[in-house]
Symmetry: D2
């Protein structure tokens, strides 16, 4: 994650004195709320899995999910690249290339 | 967002031939599912807004939210820095510094 | 909502002395978590909007969403039939039959 | 669940010819969206776990969660009392009274 961008997000928060509201629990709640707003783009879309006419909405909601995730990571003193690399490693063990190749099954159902 | 990291995530997906499942609607669903797993860290925590004993879980779930958000952005050919900067600008108009200072009210309730 | 059933749910909670954890905020969190577990049934289903092979999972997750919703309503001293009838009335004003007929548009986009 | 009320909900849907949009996947998505709107009542509430000033909002969002859950159950030909009783039975096995008494631990952590 680009450090400049992270600092812009922190600055936005601090210029409004919002850090006082940003406890981890409410930040996690906020990520869920924004994720649901992203999902709303696809409500009633049926088998249209793209909804290209709503791309502008999607952009904004993905951005909101990312912004709150970055704010939570910052609050918890986490390095974003580090936690992602760590998770990819762990996922790689659960979903080994040969067993997981071309299947969407959950790791608990793979053999 | 660090380009190297994005490429690692894409590589992880492609080594498993998972791109075929990654339509925007199911990626948006996946972001909501991971956001809820993050939220589960705080279930029944009451007024404990930190849950420091669950930090390892949080790390993994924040990483999952970020990974799927990055995969959705990639699928839609979005530049992550660009959509975040665009959203900060828009939020800055809705939440002007002087009016939004030190309040958690929604922009529709500010004046 | 059948009063007998509500009482069974309350009894289940009280036999485990769980009322102490059931504040409204954590119950709302729990509803979101169960809703996401229901959604997981459809993760990666693409244009298959039914997932008939996962009906047993769906049953359990719908039940969990209902159970926590009933517990939250009870905690807030709400009558379930009353709040549903009130909401249907309000929705009927936002989505008038002639304007909303056969369209999935949001009320803000109807005219 | 009161049969009259269920029929009112079905009638509301059918008078608008909305059944065509109500596939299980989009109904599950809708439940998640409404659950997140309920959660929004508690966003930034911190250690205030009640938010009594937002009770009217809560009522409406709980009603929306219930309405979509009932619509999904109807779509899948499920009897609501039956699936709830079945789930309580299953939960009773995972959370036995003596082991689960007064603890909010997940069943995987109980012994």
């Amino acid at each position: 994650m680009n450090q400049d961008l992270i600092e812009k997000i922190i600055k936005f928060r601090d210029e409004r004195n919002w850090d006082q509201f940003h406890n981890p629990k409410d930040l996690a709640i906020s990520i869920s709320i924004e994720a649901a707003e992203l999902l709303e783009t696809f409500q009633w879309s049926g088998a249209d899995l793209e909804k290209s006419d709503k791309l502008d909405n999607m952009k904004e909601e993905i951005a909101d999910v990312l912004i709150y995730s970055i704010l939570l990571a910052e609050k918890l003193n986490l390095d974003i690249s580090e936690i992602i690399e760590h998770k990819l490693k762990k996922n790689g063990e659960k979903y080994q290339k040969d067993k997981a190749y071309g299947t969407s099954k959950k790791y608990t159902e793979l053999r």
